[in-house]
């Protein structure tokens, strides 16, 4: 998804595919087309010089529809795995990265080394590294606002920020990001409180993580200009599983990175809208 972002801000803006992907992200449960719809609250005929006011709340509500329920699932799973409710809250306040928070639950329950958890976080969140490149000039200059927005750059918040017109006030950007995180934290708190009251022995609730990865993969595939990364990844995983089953994921990532280094620099159809 972020592949095109790295080539620079203007390219990212040209390529709707890139932005659309983020619309949905973690959760989100807002299909890209919806993003466009709600962007078009502001008629396209409005001159670009005057950014039309966009209600911060309306942008954030679509994110809330994804963040609150998913945050609840996270809080619930974490507490059921044996964590106190406030630890779930701390994760959503200080880590604030959906997929890696889901991923850490079984790892913490199995008492895996902190280094393994950090490495897994690095892999799962690697895509976030490519987000900032398209926002370099858009984020406010004031340090507190800028660094909070960088911290809060989840897939959904990224998609909302790229949707905001040039010249949006700093306060509005920060308000959207803060609201989005508030939804996630609220969901986590609700889920953790419920999880602390109930004892449910259902197998398979943690399949939510696999489903989340599947959704992300579909959206990445949709915005990708080639399917080779998909096949390379499957092949790498097959090889890694045969050669080093204990470290299959790491070996497969290494193989994919190697393949990616030889990937052609420019793609034939990037300019297609």
């Amino acid at each position: 998804m972020s592949g095109k972002v790295i080539a620079g801000a203007d390219k990212a803006q040209r390529s709707t595919g890139t932005r659309l992907v983020h619309c949905w992200q973690l959760s989100r449960f807002t299909p890209p087309t919806d993003c466009k719809c709600f962007m078009s609250d502001t008629p396209p005929s409005t001159p670009p010089a005057l950014p039309p006011p966009i209600s911060v709340l309306s942008l954030s509500v679509t994110v809330a529809m994804g963040y609150v329920p998913l945050g609840m699932v996270f809080g619930f799973l974490f507490v059921q795995a044996g964590a106190p409710w406030w630890l779930a809250l701390a994760a959503s306040v200080f880590v604030y990265a959906g997929a890696s928070q889901f991923m850490m639950v079984p790892m913490l329950a199995a008492s895996l080394p902190v280094a393994s958890i950090a490495l897994a976080t690095l892999v799962v969140n690697l895509r976030h590294m490519f987000y900032g490149l398209s926002l370099l000039h858009k984020l406010p200059k004031q340090p507190w606002a800028r660094w909070y927005l960088v911290f809060a750059l989840t897939d959904e918040t990224y998609s909302v920020l790229t949707t905001l017109p040039e010249g949006t006030r700093t306060g509005q950007m920060v308000a959207v990001a803060l609201l989005n995180q508030a939804w996630w934290v609220l969901g986590t708190l609700l889920g953790a409180l419920i999880g602390a009251q109930v004892q449910i022995s259902l197998v398979g609730l943690d399949f939510a993580l696999a489903a989340l990865f599947a959704v992300l993969a579909v959206e990445q595939w949709r915005s990708s200009d080639a399917t080779a990364p998909l096949w390379v990844a499957l092949l790498s995983y097959g090889v890694a599983l045969t050669v080093m089953p204990q470290q299959a994921l790491l070996v497969a990532i290494a193989l994919s990175v190697l393949a990616g280094l030889f990937w052609p620099k420019t793609s034939p159809n990037v300019a297609a809208p």
Binding site: M65, V150, E219
Partner: protein
């Protein structure tokens, strides 16, 4: 029970790694924008890594399923199809997870 000090340490590490990744472009913009290898990886890796994470998670689930990977395959096919067709991430995730829980807990089926 999850040990509190250990969990806090893990959370601190995760917070640092996540923030580092999100902040890197703002600290090393020039290098990242100019380096062709970074650009290639930026186009190649997101889909590849997401595919790997999905495959790895599925393989992990399937290993814990004594009757074979049918529940995993059915549920993930549902998620992929729903997401491809309707593009509503929350719905795709909830329906897929619900189906998987149903398939894995025979007590739930009448």
């Amino acid at each position: 029970m999850i040990d509190t000090a250990y969990a806090l340490g893990a959370l601190a590490a995760m917070a640092a790694v996540t923030f580092g990744l999100r902040a890197l472009p703002f600290l090393a913009a020039r290098f990242l924008q100019r380096h062709p290898l970074v650009q290639r990886l930026g186009r190649f890796l997101p889909l590849a890594i997401m595919t790997l994470l999905l495959t790895h998670t599925l393989v992990g689930s399937a290993k814990g399923n004594p009757v074979g990977p049918w529940a995993e395959l059915a549920a993930i096919a549902t998620v992929l199809a729903l997401q491809w067709w309707r593009r509503q991430p929350l719905r795709s995730i909830l329906v897929g997870t619900g189906l998987y829980v149903l398939l894995r807990n025979p007590a739930l089926t009448p």
